[in-house]
């Protein structure tokens, strides 16, 4: 075997369409979806692939996202490789069924094109949709560009369907600012994907020759044990996820880590971002470094299971950690990511100061200057002592 990664030529493509090609290459067999902006381009393209015979799959136009996730459960229970995509209100409408999909251990793969939750109604990007679905028991990753969107959409199937894992998986990509941009990316050919991702062979499925009862209810004597099992499985899925990412690295030359580091060497101040905020933050960090500021960047890729150890290691002995959230926990400690990061560091004797900044709500643009402002403000705050729990960057009035 050649050690050379299976390089393919770079093509320019809208990221949504790249995701639909990834789903096609993964040979998804059953798709149930309902239109919601900005996820629509993905499923429109899949529908046309099915219509043209380019993807041998069943595509069901359900009448709501609630039914989309319900139909996905039925599809997965029948033994088919199952995919769907949604955003915002759609994810919120699915909410009830998301918990059941993971508890019943169906390896459904879903793209969430992240969008603000109403109200006021906003079709633009932030992370309030997925943060409201934080505790659904799915594996959740964030991607920051078109190539990552493509790669993770294929890897998600391999992770979810691992018999040691069997958990549904969400790939989060930012709506519009990522989903609707055209980027240059490398695709894989079908042969390489088939080798990487063999056909799905379900451990249990609805089959009259071997009848099983799925979705039985639990009395208090057993509910806690079932939940514990789910918790242990999700936590342990970490090693399987990392293994799949490493394998992908060998195949394509693109390796992924739970927490990515950018210019962190010698950094006293670290910014932490998720999704495509990271792309812009990189520019800002480079410029700040050039100006002599000891700033680095951490990108949190794996959201569930939460990579406690990777994060602690990546932060090292930095003095200040600034967490940039793209969602607000109303009436709470600020940003949901910031509060989780704070609790990840609380047990440590030596920990950085952690400040929370909330940026880019409802499609508000976040330019490189924002990070420079935030770092300057955070430094000033540290000198005087933090004045508030969190700051809403750029808010008027």
């Amino acid at each position: 075997m050649s050690a050379k990664p299976a390089r393919a030529k770079r093509v320019g493509m809208e990221v949504s369409i790249a995701v639909s090609h990834a789903v096609q290459l993964a040979r998804a067999e059953a798709i149930a979806a309902y239109p919601i902006t900005p996820q629509t381009h993905i499923v429109e393209h899949l529908a046309s692939m099915v219509a043209n015979g380019e993807l041998e799959a069943s595509y069901v136009n359900v009448e709501s996202e609630h039914s989309a996730m319900s139909a996905c459960i039925g599809m997965s229970a029948s033994g088919a490789r199952t995919y769907t995509a949604t955003s915002s209100q759609g994810l919120a409408l699915m909410n009830e069924i998301l918990f059941i999909a993971s508890a019943m251990r169906f390896p459904i793969v879903m793209t969430v094109a992240n969008r603000a939750l109403s109200g006021p109604l906003s079709i633009w990007n932030d992370h309030s949709d997925i943060m409201a679905a934080r505790d659904i028991g799915w594996i959740q990753v964030f991607v920051e560009n078109g190539q990552e969107s493509f790669d993770h959409s294929i890897m998600a199937f391999k992770i979810a369907e691992n018999p040691q894992v069997l958990l549904p998986t969400i790939v989060n990509l930012d709506g519009f600012i990522l989903s609707h941009v055209v980027e240059a990316l490398e695709m894989l050919d079908q042969g390489a994907v088939d080798k990487f991702l063999p056909a799905y062979s379900p451990r249990h499925r609805l089959d009259p020759r071997n009848p099983v009862t799925m979705g039985a209810f639990a009395m208090p004597e057993i509910y806690t044990e079932v939940k514990m099992k789910h918790q242990v499985t999700l936590t342990n899925s970490y090693e399987h996820i990392v293994k799949v990412w490493e394998e992908w690295g060998k195949l394509t030359g693109r390796a992924y880590k739970p927490v990515e580091q950018f210019m962190t060497k010698g950094a006293k101040i670290l910014l932490l971002t998720m999704g495509c905020l990271s792309e812009v933050a990189q520019i800002a960090v480079e410029e700040m470094r050039a100006a002599g500021l000891p700033v680095g960047l951490l990108k949190l890729r794996m959201w569930r299971p939460f990579p406690f150890e990777d994060l602690r290691k990546a932060v090292g002995d930095a003095e200040l950690l600034i967490v940039c959230d793209r969602a607000l926990s109303l009436g709470g400690p600020g940003g949901p990511v910031m509060s989780e990061v704070r609790s990840a560091f609380y047990p440590l004797a030596q920990r950085p100061n952690i400040l929370g900044y909330i940026v880019g709500l409802g499609g508000r643009d976040v330019a490189p200057q924002a990070y420079k402002d935030i770092v300057a403000k955070a430094k000033a705050e540290m000198e005087q002592g933090p004045s508030q729990e969190f700051s809403l960057y750029g808010v008027r009035g």
Binding site: E29, A30, A32, E56, A57, S58, V60, N61, V62, E63, S64, H66, S67, A68, S70, A71, C72, I73, G74, M75, S76, A77, S78, G79, A80, T82, E96, I97, I100, M104, L206, D207, P208, N210, P211, V212, T213, M214, G215, A216, F217, A218, M219, I222, V226
Partner: protein
């Protein structure tokens, strides 16, 4: 019906046990109440479905009494996800099986898919998912266990609760005579979806129910069967009267047994003599508070609706000697 030997069946009534399948797919040991009409219906429906089928079930009485982890009363492959989505789950199962069959991943033809839910899970919270599934034309059968209220949560009214009935959320009082709305016509809603097969059935008429389910299963495309299930707990009726009450619902015209095949109505059970509504209401505690004006109102409306149905079925209209005198409309309560 002839196809299944139904026309001859009355001749063989004494041989019933030999004609019907002996296999039990809904096993004993489940926790339904004494006299549960629904459990009786489930037993016969699962027999009619046969072995080669997959069941998706909504949350509700039947799910709760039959599937406490780690036990199950279901011999079929069976899946329960939530309350309002069983038709969507069944859609997914059917589509999944279809694509697996097309890709040669199933040995033999795909199993039949049956969705089941109570009247709340069907006519209220599950109506959207059911409408979507019927409109999309999946090859599946939906069975509604209609016990006319949310019995599992403690007898709250649903849109399928009949006019005048007492439930815990439609109690009679100084300002109320109980349920103030007429029962939602779910069968007409199913018919309006232009699906190939719609029927009503009752476990008090086992042959009729059995062959309707068989027909529904074998009809390609969506089929809907609405089964009236007597609930002694919620109806406040004696547990030994369940089969009798199911018969009275048919004999009084409250719940006529008919089928609609490709839009064509056909009355499958015509009682020799239609009985007055009082015969049906009286054994049920949930109607105990009703006074004559309300009962007369119900009687008139039942007869009107029954006549409409008979006209649709092209059946002869019998006499209704018990109909109350035409009188100026009185206050209902």
């Amino acid at each position: 019906m002839e196809k299944f030997g139904f026309a001859e069946s009355p001749k063989y009534d004494v041989y019933v046990s030999r004609l019907m399948p002996r296999e039990e797919y809904f096993t004993s040991g489940h926790r339904s109440c004494q006299g549960c009409g629904e459990a009786l219906a489930v037993r016969w429906v699962t027999k009619a479905i046969g072995k080669d089928a997959i069941i998706a079930h909504a949350t509700g009485c039947m799910e709760i009494v039959s599937s406490g982890l780690p036990q199950t009363a279901w011999m079929h492959p069976w899946i329960h996800v939530a309350f309002e989505n069983t038709a969507a789950v069944a859609s997914g199962v059917e589509e999944g099986l279809k694509i697996l069959a097309r890709k040669g991943k199933l040995s033999g033809p795909p199993p039949k898919v049956v969705a089941m839910g109570g009247d709340g899970g069907t006519t209220d919270i599950g109506l959207q998912a059911l409408s979507g599934a019927m409109e999309r034309g999946h090859d599946f059968t939906y069975v509604c266990w209609d016990n006319e209220a949310y019995m599992n949560t403690g007898i709250q009214r649903s849109s399928s609760t009949p006019f005048g009935a007492m439930t815990t959320t439609s109690p009679p009082g100084k300002q109320s005579f109980g349920q103030s709305t007429w029962k939602k016509d779910m069968v007409a809603i199913a018919v309006a979806h232009n699906i190939p097969y719609v029927a009503t059935a009752s476990p008090s008429y086992v042959f009729d129910l059995y062959f309707k389910i068989k027909k529904a299963i074998e009809t390609p495309g969506p089929a809907y069967v609405h089964i009236l299930c007597v609930c002694p707990t919620g109806w406040r009726s004696a547990t030994d009267l369940s089969v009798r009450l199911g018969r009275l619902a048919v004999e009084t015209g409250v719940f006529p047994l008919f089928e609609v095949e490709n839009g064509k109505y056909h009355l499958t059970v015509q009682p020799p003599k239609v009985r007055p509504i009082r015969d049906y209401l009286k054994p049920q505690g949930r109607f105990r508070h009703l006074r004559d004006p309300e009962v007369d109102y119900i009687q008139k409306r039942i007869v009107e609706r029954y006549k409409d149905l008979l006209a649709k079925c092209g059946a002869s209209v019998p006499e209704f000697p018990f109909l109350p005198e035409e009188a100026p409309a009185e206050e209902g309560a």
